[in-house]
Symmetry: C2
Subunit: 326 residues, 2 copies
């Protein structure tokens, strides 16, 4: 865990980060990711500066070529004079050892450029879980002036859906080498995707595979204002990547002008607040059980008559409410 550094020191790092120090940005991200002392002050301070970046989420099963695709997208945006922040999120890893190695591999695809910032995230168990931590770090990069933020995550589970949901445009990468994988995809991943990419499109089964996905999209797209397009790419040779960028732009413009999308954005925001409230209450309950109310002692002291768990829970809630009043 990161140690608290004091409020003034945190604000100094914030200043340095705004001056462009990569090292300061790295430290700020650590503070926000690990919810170290002062992280909420940072987030409140930078929030008014957010909302300018385009946040792109990319997920898909392992081996479909996501990292190569991310590198190509980053390169194209860099050529367009956009600055790019890449967050590689691995919800299954509590320590980012593996992800760090991943970063280096990715780095070799990318030009060394001060307009690019790459970082692995793998924190868990914090205030709002890994998706909230990812959102907080993305906001930080947004406030620091990065134009494009790419959130890459590996896998297609519930965690990944939540992380990708943080993005304004969510991309699901598949490839025809993974014919069986699509069967195993949870409906949630299919429905959260705004754009489908079929990578390794030089595979002979690609067009058959694209038809399968088209049918699956058709099953739920009539319920949505935006019908997700399918883009065929060969990330290794950059083929199709320009078209993908165009689709991302199309989706961004669509969202800006669509009432349903704006409503969806507001609902996401309200849900975030609700979750922050829930987590804060959980933290208070943790503190209550740790410092104020020894449940084990209380249980031992109960007369047998009242020792059913339902009654004890009711009495515990009353004690917790009294604690909250103080």
């Amino acid at each position: 865990m990161f140690c608290g550094l004091g409020k003034n020191f945190t604000m100094t790092i914030l200043d340095e980060a705004f001056k462009g120090s990569n090292r300061a940005i790295g430290r700020l991200i650590s503070i926000v990711e690990n919810e170290s002392e002062g992280f909420l002050e940072i987030l409140k301070k930078i929030y008014p500066l957010t909302g300018k970046a385009k946040i792109i989420g990319i997920t898909g099963p392992p081996g479909v070529g996501k990292s190569t695709l991310v590198a190509q997208i980053a390169k194209i945006y860099l050529r367009k004079n956009k600055s790019v922040g890449i967050l590689a999120v691995d919800p299954s890893s509590p320590i980012s050892g593996g992800s760090l190695l991943g970063d280096r591999i990715r780095m070799t695809h990318l030009p060394l450029d001060k307009n690019i910032f790459i970082r692995s995230l793998s924190s868990r168990g914090t205030l709002g879980g890994i998706s909230q931590a990812t959102l907080n770090v993305a906001r930080l990069l947004d406030a620091l002036g990065y134009n494009i933020i790419i959130i890459e995550t590996v896998g297609v589970g519930q965690d990944e859906v939540e992380i990708i949901n943080v993005a304004s445009t969510a991309i699901l990468v598949l490839s025809s080498g993974f014919g069986d994988e699509i069967q195993a995809l949870k409906a949630g991943v299919m429905e959260v995707a705004d754009i489908f990419v079929v990578n390794k499109a030089d595979h002979p089964d690609t067009s058959k595979y694209v038809s399968t996905i088209e049918k699956m999209i058709h099953q739920f797209s009539n319920r949505k204002a935006w019908t997700p397009p399918i883009v065929k790419t060969i990330a290794l040779s950059s083929e199709g990547c320009e078209e993908l960028i165009e689709k991302i732009e199309e989706h961004t413009n669509f969202c800006k002008n669509n009432k349903a999308m704006l409503e969806e954005f507001k609902q996401k925001y309200l849900l975030e607040i609700r979750k922050l409230v829930e987590r804060k209450l959980t933290q208070e309950l943790d503190y209550f059980f740790k410092e104020k109310f020894n449940l084990e002692d209380f249980y031992e002291k109960q007369s047998t008559k009242n020792s059913d768990p339902y009654s004890i829970a009711e009495q515990t809630i009353l004690a917790f409410k009294s604690f909250l009043k103080t």
Copy 2:
């Protein structure tokens, strides 16, 4: 959903259930499972009568022959003049349509006997989730005098681990036809099992498979007081089932006399209380957002200066605390 029936009517059903009416037992279970009006009163009332039944949990991947095994175990206990309650829990099914059909199939294996009660559970989203609902219903059967309660659940995910954890003896059923399945088993399922069953033991690969499981058990058993035995069965012909019953009895006796196990039991109980408290708070928060505090209105009224989600969450928590005081 089950409608509230009024407290007196609920208590009448309780009386009838104690007189042995299967129909009344079924209605009571519905009330407890769906957390209908009066369910907490029922649970508090019956709790002092619990603690006499043996609760056996059985899980494993689909197709290993769990239902046949459950039927054979039930038959043996019935022959020993024990009454048996069987709860088939399907956490993946919100409606028990499929499970009901499953019941009928299971019923055909079993003699029609008033000492046996079979029921499917599939409720979700209630006060403590499906594992708490299963525990509550098991307590009800326990209080009603059933000697043996068998909780059967299909699968090896987190839900199943939690459900099986309700039992005093947890059995993981595997079979050598499922060589790959064991690789996919989460450590949690392996560690929660008190007894391993390798069913369909007439399969030629059985002894090789048993060795594999032995090695896996060895990896974590040195941390536990009880080393899980492996029992080979052919459930279809009842082979090995008497030995399985013996191992269940051994485990029960071991738990009664083992300090670590008694401590584990207490910790489970305290965790249950903690979870009941958490769920109750979630319910209060739901009510707060539904009836007392319109988050959307609050958000709309915020000045832009304070409209970051972190500040709004803090103000919402303050409002919730005020609500709890009233």
